[in-house]
């Protein structure tokens, strides 16, 4: 993070009040628009849809489709170690079955979807979302403990 040192106030030799007012209005508008862009959380419902799709795939035993909804880092981690594809490994994990979304939130490029029996984390990928972690249980202030997660 940068820390800047301001230009020295010119005090009595400062710009005219009209110029200062115009600059302030312009600044405020710019700041407000930046805040507007940054504060909005577009895509929260899309993240929830991806979480539902992921659990629907797991529920129907379509592990290949579920793997397609994971970020590459999570697939790689699943496939590391003992031989087996992502689908094989996913079928052996104890990810609690979930069917409905209770809460969802997205900030920037990350999202969290709280379902009836599971909590998932997602990240933006292209125009959509991919699951970064699933089968997660809260550990208070510490990161969630997840059955599936990337590095």
């Amino acid at each position: 993070m940068t820390v800047t040192y301001g230009v020295w106030p010119v005090g009595r030799r400062g710009p005219g009040p009209r110029t200062a007012l115009a600059a302030a209005v312009l600044t405020s508008v710019l700041l407000a628009s930046i805040a507007g862009c940054a504060g909005a959380n577009p895509g929260t419902s899309e993240a929830a849809t991806t979480a539902l799709d992921f659990h629907a795939a797991l529920g129907s035993g379509d592990y290949l489709r579920a793997c397609g909804l994971l970020i590459p880092a999570a697939v790689e981690k699943l496939e590391a170690g003992a031989p087996g594809t992502c689908a094989d490994k996913l079928s052996q994990l104890d990810v609690p079955a979930a069917a409905s979304v209770q809460d969802s939130a997205s900030y920037g490029r990350n999202a969290q979807v709280v379902m009836d029996q599971d909590t998932l984390f997602l990240a933006r990928s292209g125009d959509g979302w991919k699951v970064t972690a699933a089968g997660c249980t809260s550990r208070g202030e510490r990161p969630y403990d997840c059955e599936v997660e990337g590095d």
Partner: protein
């Protein structure tokens, strides 16, 4: 003799350009830094436009802006009452406090070329008399508010990236993250003001209006080029 407007507005043009170039530099280096983190986490890189409209960029910009405008606000307002012996940034010791209408050229003491609101009297002159502080204060408050909103968004994004709950804005504005970002900017601004006030007592910059004349006494207060 009529001067070239680029000459008569040189100071604002120069600092305007320095601002824009620095902001552009911050944006380009910022997106590169952000993408280093994305790659390290196995996530997709983002575009320049996505970065400059992100909360990460907005909080880095606004946290610096708010502290600059706070610096200006405090300096403008506190120097009405506080003086520093020997500093060209201070008024003369005897002039501390609010000055008379006559000294301020307002109302019946205004000149022909005085601004309209300085001549008007009443609430218009009262507002105009504090307009610099009001505008600086307004921009400070707005920038700080934007810092809190975008800072929360960026913080929540990081929290989610590390598999933690995002929290709320109300929790964020009393969090160590928010106050660390805020105070690390404030301390540098206050140090810069303090340095200028004190160093300008004993040091000179020939021909600069922020300095006393080179041969002026150390204890001459309120004297500047």
């Amino acid at each position: 003799m009529k001067h070239n407007p680029f000459v008569t507005n040189g100071l604002s043009i120069a600092f305007g350009l320095l601002f824009l170039l620095s902001l552009a530099g911050q944006a380009f280096s910022g997106v590169a830094y952000f993408n280093e983190g994305q790659v390290a986490s196995g996530l997709e890189e983002i575009s320049f436009w996505q970065y400059v409209t992100s909360s990460s960029f907005a909080v880095d910009v606004s946290e610096n802006w708010q502290s600059e405008y706070l610096q200006f606000l405090l300096f403008i307002v506190l120097t009405v009452w506080l003086v520093q012996k020997g500093s060209p940034e201070s008024k003369e010791i005897e002039k501390r406090g609010v000055q008379s209408d006559e000294e301020e050229l307002i109302g019946e003491f205004s000149k022909k070329e005085s601004p309209k609101w300085a001549k008007a009297g009443g609430f218009r002159t009262a507002i105009f008399s504090t307009s610099l502080g009001l505008v600086m204060g307004t921009v400070f408050v707005l920038s700080w508010l934007v810092q809190s909103v975008t800072g929360f968004s960026a913080f929540a994004e990081q929290q989610l990236g590390s598999l933690q709950d995002p929290g709320t804005w109300a929790e964020y504005v009393v969090s160590p993250e928010f106050w660390n970002r805020t105070l690390q900017n404030w301390q540098s601004e206050f140090l810069a003001v303090w340095s200028m006030v004190i160093l300008s007592v004993y040091l000179r910059q020939r021909s600069s209006p922020e300095s006393k004349p080179v041969g002026e006494a150390h204890d001459a207060t309120g004297a500047s080029n």
